[in-house]
């Protein structure tokens, strides 16, 4: 078959020019259409899909072309992308990608194009919905309509009776909800009882249970408005902001760390996360109007009336993952957090192609991209108040030192790189000729300093383009040569020079001379002539910069030295200039810059910091990146808001980068989304589901609101009441809808469940499960351990001794999210999170059953009701009374008779489990410390435990060497001597037995550098057992027999010899019982203590088993009633 096709083609090609149109169509039908259908339609037709935006199923399709432009040029197969692609000539454009066309098939297409590509297919098959149609459709979409002011539906007396709205509508919310219930033949559930109400309200607003006293007070308050008083008290509580601020932190994809960073050059913690978190909490507590709340987070640096401390708000933009510094991804993250967070729109889709469903063209994405590309980051110390002396001064002094160190190297490297760039001018000019072949992104790390840097080649390219607009005294010949077709270059180069000489009065004479001397034969030679001229002059000038240059010389010098020269590193911060440097320089600069951040993080005198965005001086309009590829730039687009929201008459942003304009466009009463999206978020957290059930997607594919009029009415109420969040809370919570029970009476519940199983119409309240933060905070609250203090540095929640602060102050490492947070559905800190998932997995149960944190709370809770023998005697409180008290603390109610019985039975029957735990309760025989060795008396003067264990080693603190204890360190197999004799490290064995023991071990020092170590082995009963001085050598440390009594110690002491240099050592002794009285196991092996094997972090921790009362307390904390709020 291929062979026959070929023969046919040869024949056909011979006559091709003579073909008539009708024959062309026949050829198309016979050969081309079947081929296109068989080999191309799979990916390029409306039926299947349209990849690369290219449709080949219509004539219009290939005429319009795909992302690379028109698919073919009729009559010119060699200029046609289609032919190029099927010929597999270009490795980056090979179609079909899987199975190459046969030579015969390629020839068919070539012949078809050659004959002018006759194509009778006129039917316009549907493509992806054209943008115009999307706008048309979207105009009718509810979310893009202006917020209406719906009238409140009247609820008839009949409806009131029917729906159980006994006291009539409490707020207009009731009218909206009840009207719809009535229409569906449903009714509200009865009002919840008082205990349920106060629990619901407390958890809802503060994330904490009410205290037994608060419950009692509410029961006592029988005057009208009692619940309103509870709501007001809770809204005024500082715990309110901690609860609702955290919801916003989910939206803001908040974390305390940057995500994956290069460990050798970047600090992984943010310096400003706690300041942002505290700002958000404070904003909720102060009921900062929401429009202001948004404006400050996007543009606090420019918003009128913003004070220094409100700069912390901009953490909203700057606390996202760092993506290893890839700027396009950082900007994408910022667009996403703003647009989904405040507008409920997924603009991110439009990064690569027009949004599939919503009217968001790629151009609109890049309009926003341009806003953020026009900004740069800056670290700003906050606290406008007077600076504290002492610690602050110390902070500032060291900070300045570190900053200066960085700046010096930065300037040095900038200068060095600029010098290198100037010297390599020729290489760059040559490289510009192949600019389109450069690697697609700055993804390729520039490893070596002398490599041609694609960033700089692009800068040269841009610069040269800018000189092409009008006659340029230096570059005019360049552009004239460049305009010559390659095959006429040699023949016409002379005439260019002639006309250049003719224009000599305008042309730089040095340039004219250079070309007069040498007629270039190619653009490469043109580049070389320029390069030689520029580098020659550069050499001459830099040899003696004080010499005055002639005017033409100075003009040339400016090409390399002007502020906007492509041959020098421009002014700016390192974040913007990173790619100008080679890898080792980036590492060196990164290290110094991270040392600044580390100081800010660790210094006790450091003020809070903000990281803000600031507008760059230059206002530049962005270009579209085709398919999201920055190397493939499309048309320019102004910085402006989305058309679908801003309307037909939208104006480009006018102020600076446009960031403030963007904030204003969002925080506007005319914006149809801002208020709707936010009141829906409020509704969602009160009821467990939003009126719009896709809280961050209000686009055309979103589920419509269950109660559209109510949504609008609330949005309008919100805006009319000064964007006050607390007023909306109040309105919602005072409604009868909010206050109904979470279970309908059985006789009506069954019917309602059939009509509306998802409870969209709100015929009952939704039972809600506590999220991780509320659960942990409630545990601390029940145990009476909660530390209610506000703000400040984040704390590790999962390391003993356990933090007792509220969970919102827990340290969130987005890279290493603790297992417990993952198990409990904590918000993924990389993603904007409108609503957490709610899963039930056994890991949650394991945490509650076994984690030392929960055990600690169970103990504290039991102690709170006086579970110890002494307490029982002292208070004379009966078991029943204590069970009642504990129920009030945990569940805010009396136990039922059955619960009381069960509890009493449990406590009587439970054992401490001591018998089983006896083995585990034995403390380790080893402890790890440091102290001073007294050489004269050959004994230890002091012993203090090393305070910090990092999982591998005991040492002075988290960082090693420690500021106080220096290099002192003990590991499983050895350690590092302390800095001097006063800080010798001591591995101490405390004898749990009486008898005699033998000691085995091998002490090693393994460095030729320095002068080694000294070591002593000391028994508290027998004194010095041995001593050694070792330098790059080892020694057996064997002692045959030492007599011990219980509690005696044997110390393994190591200090530096004379100098502090390479003093790490290996020494992992084993102590074994000897003699007839030795304790032996079943196999006859004597009891032994193995230092490396038994090495560990728990400082001789006794795991005290839970008492029956403590076990009981723990059970109550595990109950469903503790986790679910009715």
């Amino acid at each position: 078959m291929p062979r026959r096709a070929c023969q046919f083609l040869i024949l056909l090609l011979a006559v091709a020019p003579a073909l008539r149109a009708a024959d062309g169509v026949a050829f198309f039908e016979a050969k081309v259409r079947p081929l296109l259908i068989a080999r191309c339609y799979e990916c390029h037709s409306a039926e299947k899909e349209i990849k690369g935006e290219l449709a080949l199923d219509t004539k219009a399709g290939w005429q319009r072309g795909g992302e690379h432009g028109a698919a073919l040029v009729p009559g010119k197969p060699d200029d046609s992308l289609l032919i190029k692609a099927v010929s597999y000539g270009d490795p980056d454009l090979q179609m079909p990608p899987k199975k190459r066309l046969t030579a015969g098939e390629v020839e068919i297409l070539r012949a078809w194009v050659d004959m002018g590509a006759p194509d009778p297919r006129i039917a316009a098959t549907a493509r992806i919905t054209p943008l115009a149609d999307k706008y048309e459709a979207a105009r009718a979409h509810w979310a893009f309509q202006p917020v209406q002011t719906p009238s409140v539906p009247q609820v008839s007396a009949n409806a009131v009776r029917q729906t159980g709205l006994i006291a009539g509508p409490q707020t207009p919310i009731d009218n909206f909800i009840v009207a719809k219930l009535v229409a569906n033949g449903l009714q509200l559930s009865p009002p919840a009882d008082k205990r349920t109400l106060i629990r619901r309200a407390s958890f809802d607003l503060t994330g904490l249970p009410p205290s037994p006293e608060e419950v009692a007070a509410f029961f006592k308050d029988e005057a009208p408005g009692a619940f309103a008083r509870v709501v007001d008290r809770l809204l005024a509580s500082p715990h309110y902001g901690e609860r609702w601020g955290r919801y916003w932190l989910d939206v803001a994809r908040f974390a305390d760390t940057k995500g994956y960073v290069y460990g050798d050059r970047e600090e992984s913690k943010f310096i400003h996360s706690s300041a942002y978190r505290d700002w958000v909490i404070g904003a909720f507590n102060h009921d900062l109007p929401y429009d202001r709340f948004i404006t400050l987070q996007i543009a606090a640096d420019q918003a009128p009336g913003a004070d220094l401390d409100s700069l912390a708000a901009m953490g909203y933009l700057t606390l996202g993952r760092r993506f290893l510094g890839v700027v396009h991804d950082i900007i994408d993250d910022r667009i996403d957090v703003v647009m989904r967070g405040t507008q409920g729109l997924t603009v991110g889709c439009a990064r690569c192609h027009d949004h599939k469903f919503d009217p968001i063209p790629t151009k609109d994405y890049y309009s926003l991209y341009g806003v953020f590309a026009g900004c740069t980051e800056r670290e700003v110390p906050l606290n406008s108040g007077p600076k504290p002396a002492g610690a602050y001064l110390e902070f500032e002094k060291e900070l300045k030192l570190r900053e200066a160190k960085f700046q010096t190297l930065f300037n040095e490297k900038k200068e060095e790189q600029s010098r290198r760039l100037r010297a390599k001018t020729t290489d760059y000019l040559v490289a510009v000729l192949g600019v389109e072949k450069l690697p697609t992104e700055e993804f390729y790390s520039i490893m070596q300093a002398d490599e041609v840097n694609p960033v700089m080649v692009r800068a040269w390219h841009k610069y040269l383009l800018s000189t092409a607009k009008a006659f340029h005294p230096i570059w005019a010949p360049w552009h004239a040569f460049a305009a010559l077709p390659a095959n006429e270059f040699v023949s016409r180069a002379g005439s260019i020079i002639a006309s250049a000489t003719h224009a000599a009065q305008k042309l730089n004479p040095l340039v004219a001379n250079a070309f007069a001397e040498k007629t270039p034969l190619s653009m490469r030679e043109v580049a070389e002539v320029y390069g030689k001229l520029l580098t020659g002059l550069e050499k001459k000038w830099s040899a003696n910069p004080t010499n005055k240059l002639s005017k033409p010389e100075e003009e040339l010098r400016q090409v390399l030295y002007a502020a906007d020269s492509p041959a020098s590193v421009p002014a700016g911060a390192i974040v913007d200039l990173e790619w100008y440097f080679d890898e080792p320089t980036r590492v060196a600069l990164g290290k110094l810059s991270s040392q600044i951040e580390q100081w800010i993080l660790q210094s006790p005198g450091a003020p809070p910091y903000a990281v803000i965005l600031e507008d760059r001086a230059a206002k530049k309009n962005p270009r579209v990146f085709k398919r999201g590829n920055p190397a493939n730039q499309g048309e320019e687009t102004p910085r402006q808001f989305l058309k679908i929201l801003a309307g037909e008459n939208r104006q480009p942003f006018a102020k600076g980068s446009g960031r403030l304009d963007l904030a204003e466009a969002i925080a506007s009463k005319d914006n149809p989304l801002t208020a709707r999206v936010f009141v829906n978020r409020l509704w969602l957290h009160h009821f467990g589901a939003g009126l719009v059930r896709t809280p961050s997607d209000f686009g055309t594919r979103a589920e419509p609101p269950t109660h559209p009029e109510l949504l609008d009415w609330l949005a309008r109420y919100f805006m009319d009441n000064g964007w006050s969040v607390k007023k909306v809370h109040r309105l919602i919570m005072l409604s009868a809808v909010y206050q109904q029970a979470s279970d309908a009476p059985t006789d009506v519940g069954g019917y309602a469940k059939e009509i509306d199983p998802e409870n969209k119409l709100l015929w009952r309240m939704n039972r809600q499960r506590l999220d991780f933060e509320a659960l942990r905070d409630s545990l601390l609250s029940a145990s009476g351990q909660l530390d209610p203090s506000f703000g400040g540095k984040a704390e590790d929640l999962f390391k003993a001794p356990f933090s007792k602060r509220r969970s919102v102050y827990g340290f969130i490492d987005r890279q290493f999210l603790p297992g417990a947070l993952r198990a409990f559905d904590f918000a993924n800190p990389d993603m904007h999170n409108p609503q957490r998932s709610e899963t039930t997995v056994p890991q949650q149960a394991l945490f509650l059953m076994n984690s030392p944190f929960v055990v600690e709370q169970a103990r504290a809770l039991a102690a709170r009701v006086g579970d110890s023998k002494e307490a029982v005697v002292a208070t004379g409180k009966s078991s029943e009374a204590r069970i009642k008290q504990i129920h009030h603390l945990v569940y805010q109610r009396e136990p039922t008779a059955r619960e009381m019985q069960g509890a009493l039975r449990f406590i009587a029957a439970a054992t401490t489990g001591l018998e089983e735990k006896a083995a585990q309760a034995i403390p380790s025989a080893w402890t790890y410390g440091f102290g001073e060795f007294d050489e004269t008396n050959k004994q230890l003067k002091t012993f203090k435990p090393l305070p910090y264990f990092n999982g591998e080693a005991w040492q002075g603190g988290e960082s090693w060497p420690d500021a106080k204890l220096g290099w002192a360190q003990l590991t499983a197999t050895g350690g590092h001597a302390g800095n001097d004799l006063q800080h010798a490290v001591i591995r101490r064995w405390i004898s749990p037995v009486a008898g005699s023991v033998a000691i085995e071990g091998n002490l090693q020092h393994q460095h030729p550098e320095g002068d080694g170590i000294r070591a002593w082995l000391i028994s508290s009963r027998q004194g010095l057992l041995g001593n050694w001085v070792l330098h790059n050598q080892s020694a057996e440390t064997k002692i045959q027999s030492v007599v011990v009594k219980q509690g005696d110690t044997i110390d393994f002491v190591v200090s530096t010899h004379q100098s502090l240099n390479k003093n790490d050592f290996l020494w992992s002794p084993i102590i074994r019982m000897t003699g007839p009285e030795a304790i032996r196991d079943a196999n006859g092996y004597a009891r032994e203590w193995n230092a490396p094997k038994e090495f560990g972090g728990a400082p001789a921790e006794v795991r005290k088993p839970l008492t029956p009362w403590e076990q009981y307390a723990q059970v109550l904390l595990l109950g469903n009633e503790f986790l679910f709020v009715d």
Binding site: K98, G699, D830, M849
Partner: protein, 478 residues
């Protein structure tokens, strides 16, 4: 759902039963004990527990996956893709265009390893992997793998999550999301790496926008103690008997709570989760304890951490864990820019025996036919020698994403197959190119998913592992 009556009875029965046999709940399945009622509650649990086992939409050839991740980028022309032409050009520049990789490379670098035909199929495997060579008739070797970028970070992301840059769920997360796990007492997706994290750390097994339970559970297989392997798996403050008593009281409390409320599946699911957790304490310890294996099996896998890690993997597979990733080690051990002969030899020695043992062991147990084994790195290496800053040749190879080898074995894979080819020297995949997206599509296909329809709705659109790409490589399938 009117079930409170018999449910109550069941609880009474259960309590009585437990009172009689103390802590006997460990091994006995609830469903077996309590028949229908428990099934009902298991169904209730399934509504809420996202890890409950689910069937795939299409017939599956494989039920579970083990992925050996040779992180750092193993060299294909030194292992599964012989390139005799490199010998011809030894020490000379290769003809054809210079392909830019991350660092500069120079002349041709013939393989220091010897290839010989293996198995009945006679497929050549180098002496780096003699034991895997013995199993070659079980393998489908892909010699035309293609990734996108010559750096570790994006390539790891592409191989694991199908996207070089943006945060997306990993393959293991997708699979656990789609299939749940057969053993609710163990995590469904387990990642083992001895000594610490690979480059890109936990991003490699991230759940992305999927719920947190689908993230891989990382285990540092250097440890041998169960407490270090699974958080909170031991009760250190209460005896098992005491804890059983606690859970019985908890049941009573929860039952009291539930009886006053109408059917809410979440309440019942949480009750079940405590029972599951209780059993997990013993089951999980058992799964990680290889001392329960006969010596002959331990010998088959060999000594050392990789033998142990792989044997643990088999025990986990047997217990219904869905997706296991076995990394070679912290950082990027296979990244041999220098001294490739020594480094690759050492690394291959560590993994050759365990990987081959797993194939043989699974086969002998009848599990190979529905277990998919994936073996490879994030990219391959250059056929040219890497140069140092001064331009002198080192004894290693640079990264190469343009062509490299991986192999599949087990469930639904056509053994004794070589698929695709790189160019004459091993620089670029040129024939039957298998992009990472195609590999993902194929793996999902074997597990019973159509990769184009297996989606998750997030941020207003349906996402899939293969984004808008990927084709199932039919030639690899039985």
């Amino acid at each position: 759902m009117h079930h409170p009556l018999n449910l109550k009875d069941a609880f009474l029965t259960r309590r009585n039963f437990l009172a009689k046999c103390g802590m006997g709940m460990g091994a006995v399945s609830l469903a077996a004990l309590f028949g229908e009622t428990s099934l009902l509650s298991a169904r209730a649990a399934a509504n809420v527990n996202p890890l409950a086992p689910k069937g795939p939409p299409f017939p599956a050839r494989a039920k579970r996956v083990v992925h050996f991740f040779l992180n750092g980028g193993p060299s294909h022309m030194d292992s599964f893709d012989p390139k005799p032409s490199l010998d011809k050009y030894a020490g000379q520049p290769l003809p054809g265009e210079y392909i830019k990789t991350e660092r500069k490379t120079g002349s041709a670098f013939p393989s220091p390893f010897k290839f010989k035909p293996c198995g009945r199929s006679g497929i050549p495997v180098s002496d780096l992997f003699p034991k895997i060579g013995e199993c070659v008739d079980e393998l489908a070797i892909i010699r035309s793998m293609k990734a996108e970028l010559p750096n570790h970070e994006p390539s790891l992301m592409l191989m694991n999550c199908g996207d070089a840059v943006q945060s997306r769920p990993s393959l293991g997360s997708w699979v656990t999301y789609g299939l749940g796990t057969e053993n609710l007492n163990l995590p469904g997706f387990i990642v083992m790496c001895p000594g610490g994290y690979p480059v890109k750390e936990t991003d490699n097994w991230q759940n992305g926008f999927l719920p947190g339970v689908f993230q891989g559970t990382y285990i540092d297989s250097q440890h041998t103690k169960i407490e270090k392997l699974i958080e909170n798996i031991r009760s250190n403050y209460t005896s098992m008997k005491g804890q059983r008593g606690q859970l019985d009281l908890l049941q009573q409390l929860n039952e009291e709570h539930q009886s006053a409320r109408q059917g809410d599946a979440r309440l019942e699911a949480r009750i079940q989760s405590f029972e599951l957790a209780f059993r997990m304490q013993t089951d999980a310890s058992d799964a990680f304890d290889i001392s329960r294996e006969p010596q002959s099996v331990r010998d088959l896998y060999g000594p050392g951490v990789h033998g142990r890690q792989t044997l643990i993997a088999r025990r986990l597979l047997e217990r219904g864990v869905r997706f296991i990733q076995l990394w070679h080690g912290a950082g990027q051990p296979w990244d041999s820019h220098d001294n490739i002969e020594k480094n690759h030899r050492k690394l291959a020695l560590e993994i050759d025996q365990p990987a081959a043992a797993l194939i043989k062991d699974l086969k002998q147990r009848g599990m190979l036919e529905d277990t998919l084994i994936v073996f490879g790195g994030e990219f391959g290496r250059t056929p040219t020698v890497e140069l140092n800053d001064a331009g002198a040749a080192k004894a290693g190879r640079d990264h190469n994403p343009y062509g490299f080898s991986m192999w599949l074995a087990g469930g639904g894979v056509k053994g004794g197959t070589v698929y695709g080819a790189t160019d004459e020297f091993g620089f670029k995949a040129v024939e039957n190119i298998v992009h990472v997206h195609d590999l993902h599509a194929t793996i999902l296909h074997l597990l019973g998913f159509d990769h184009e329809k297996f989606t998750y709705r997030y941020a207003g659109r349906d996402f899939r592992l293969t984004d808008v790409k990927g084709e199932v490589v039919k030639a690899l399938l039985v």
